[in-house]
């Protein structure tokens, strides 16, 4: 007993200190990520880069590209949408009022809060207009007010759809409008009980008849009980006219952004996977979403790797779980996805998907905190992700955290919402000017070195 007493306190401290560290050699991106052993440490690794201003600095772009802020002083910008006339809409808000069920929720909430902007969510949509086409915002104004943590945005046939955290609303839009009054017409309610993962990502089918809404799980791995997981960790298909919904895919833990690819017109999602199985489990992923598919949550991950934390086990469901297409890395917290069309940003960023990574808190070595580009060929991911926008972390502080990404095909540029510096960033090829400029000119200096390196390696 005496020995026990002397051991108890130092043991606790020692346990806190000895966390499993990440193995940098593990390749966790691409079609076949390497998955280490499960390790749900007694004290999970947590590293919260606290916010810090940019000063005069900017995020880092590859050579041949420029980055600029086109909107500042926003209130938690999440997702963006480009209207037919080129105006940019920014959904601002922070939702989720999940009750604290355990002492852990209180402590973890307090810790995670340190990594966030202190600004209160705007619950509004802001409009950005560039009147003279110089890439700078001439008008920044509140477009719609009085929303409830708006996140997903879609525009179909003169109607703007906004996915609040609790319902889907529509607004009639007149070309050139700079504000819309009212809080919209409700198309359908969305699952909102608890709202542990509150974001309602949205996209419209290419023919405009259906809307797809991502509804995240109500827990990490079912620890609030499976009763509250009804209609959670799913993607809903909603009929735009009637508001009727059905589950399109399930077991998809937290689908935080949706987009249709322009090549095969398939629905894709970026999905945040579960925490507390170790710093390198489970990789977040980008996947095409098959109708009726089950992606494993909470019973298994990355196909049929069983998660023992959920009881009773469901081997019948695990058997059905399918493997996602493309891993993005563990705990990168992908919150944005959009596809290129018409040559994208040129060079290495010509054909593929942009992915905004909010960044980890559940591992000691930060991951994410950047925007990457996943190259595609023939409508499938092809090759390693390429960094597009980095430099968000500096000296252990987060100067920004990327969320939604939107490719503006008309201008050939990319917009990135950043909910820590409350900014919208614009990344463009250098000397791009109007769209008619031949893009090949920009590509040459970027492409050459990478091509020669590849040849050498092969």
């Amino acid at each position: 007993m005496i020995r026990l007493a002397y051991l108890a306190l130092p043991l606790t401290i020692a346990l806190a200190a000895c966390q499993v560290s990440s193995d940098p050699d593990l390749d966790q991106t691409g079609e076949r990520p390497e998955l280490p052993e499960q390790n749900d440490a007694l004290v999970p690794a947590m590293e919260i880069p606290t916010p810090e201003g940019w000063g005069d600095e900017l995020p880092t772009v590859p050579e041949g590209y420029t980055v600029s802020a086109i909107a500042q002083d926003l209130r938690i910008p999440r997702q963006t949408l480009v209207l037919p006339n080129g105006d940019i809409l920014v959904a601002e808000g922070a939702g989720g009022k999940a009750p604290k069920l355990r002492p852990k929720d209180v402590i973890a909430g307090w810790i995670k809060k340190r990594g966030k902007s202190p600004v209160e969510g705007g619950d509004r949509i802001t409009l950005l207009r560039d009147e003279d086409g110089d890439g700078q915002t001439d008008l920044q104004t509140t477009f719609i007010e009085g929303l409830d943590a708006p996140y997903g945005l879609a525009f179909v046939d003169g109607t703007l759809y906004v996915a609040n955290q609790g319902n889907l609303v529509s607004f009639e839009y007149t070309e050139g409008a700079t504000s819309i009054a009212g809080s919209g017409t409700e198309v359908t309610k969305l699952p909102a009980k608890i709202n542990h993962h509150w974001t309602k990502a949205m996209t419209a089918s290419p023919d405009g008849s259906k809307l797809y809404v991502g509804i995240g799980s109500n827990s990490n791995v079912g620890e609030r009980g499976m009763d509250v997981e009804e209609d959670r960790a799913v993607i809903w298909e909603i009929d735009r006219e009637t508001g009727a919904s059905r589950i399109f895919a399930s077991g998809i833990r937290n689908p935080t952004a949706l987009a249709f690819d322009p090549w095969n017109e398939k629905l894709w999602a970026v999905v945040n996977e579960r925490d507390e199985l170790g710093p390198q489990l489970v990789p977040d992923y980008l996947t095409s979403v098959r109708d009726g598919a089950f992606y494993g949550w909470p019973y298994s991950y990355y196909g049929q790797n069983v998660d023992p934390r959920i009881k009773p086990a469901r081997p019948d469901l695990v058997k059905k779980a399918i493997v996602p297409d493309y891993a993005l890395g563990s705990h990168v917290a992908a919150l944005g996805v959009d596809f290129t069309t018409e040559g994208g940003l040129g060079g290495r960023f010509g054909e593929g998907a942009f992915v905004g990574m909010h960044g980890s808190w559940n591992r000691a070595d930060p991951s994410g905190y950047k925007v990457v580009f996943v190259p595609f060929r023939g409508g499938r991911p092809s090759g390693e992700p390429i960094d597009l926008l980095t430099g968000f972390l500096k000296n252990g502080h987060a100067r920004g955290r990327p969320v939604g990404v939107t490719y503006d095909a008309a201008r050939g540029v990319l917009y990135i919402a950043d909910d820590v510096s409350n900014t919208v960033w614009r990344v463009a090829p250098q000397n791009a000017g109007p769209r008619s400029v031949p893009r090949g000119v920009v590509q040459v200096p970027i492409d050459t070195p990478s091509t020669s390196t590849q040849t050498g390696a092969d």
């Binding site: 007993m1 306190l9 007694l42 355990r102 002492p103 852990k104 507390e276 934390r309 009773p312």
Partner: protein
């Protein structure tokens, strides 16, 4: 031989006794909710355990502080060895209790497991031992 008890008082003063009452009640309660969770896989039981252990830890910490102060600054109204034993038991109870809090912060089925159950049993036993030491009467005897 006549024995007259001239001075009888408890080891712990009343406030200290009240603080100790919490771990004595809460750790065994957590043990029961742990057992229920393991039998039912009904998630709410492990939530109960988490809060019960957190509450027990809080008061165990206060009791530990009291025991430490008592050891160093207490009036020599009872034997040093008994104070030492009490301190050791309380320290072990608190340390294992905190460990158990971390264990119960894991998600789902891993929140209890063998480790959680063993820790809950140990904390319950230690709380009862501490209570035996603290609540038994010290009788200073005087031979007539």
């Amino acid at each position: 031989m006549d024995r007259t008890v001239t001075n009888s008082r408890s080891f712990a003063n009343p406030l200290h006794a009240i603080l100790l009452a919490f771990p004595v009640a809460l750790y065994p309660s957590a043990l029961l909710t742990d057992i229920t969770y393991l039998n039912t896989a009904e998630i709410q039981w492990t939530n109960f355990s988490s809060w019960l252990i957190a509450g027990a830890d809080l008061f165990a910490g206060l009791v530990l502080a009291w025991a430490l102060l008592g050891l160093f600054f207490g009036r020599a109204r009872h034997s040093k060895s008994r104070s030492m034993l009490y301190l050791i038991v309380v320290a072990a109870m608190f340390g294992l209790g905190v460990l158990n809090s971390f264990q119960h912060a894991r998600d789902g089925w891993h929140s209890v497991g063998t480790l959680g159950l063993v820790l809950s049993i140990l904390c319950s036993i230690l709380a009862l031992i501490a209570a035996f030491i603290a609540y038994s009467t010290i009788a200073a005897e005087k031979r007539a």
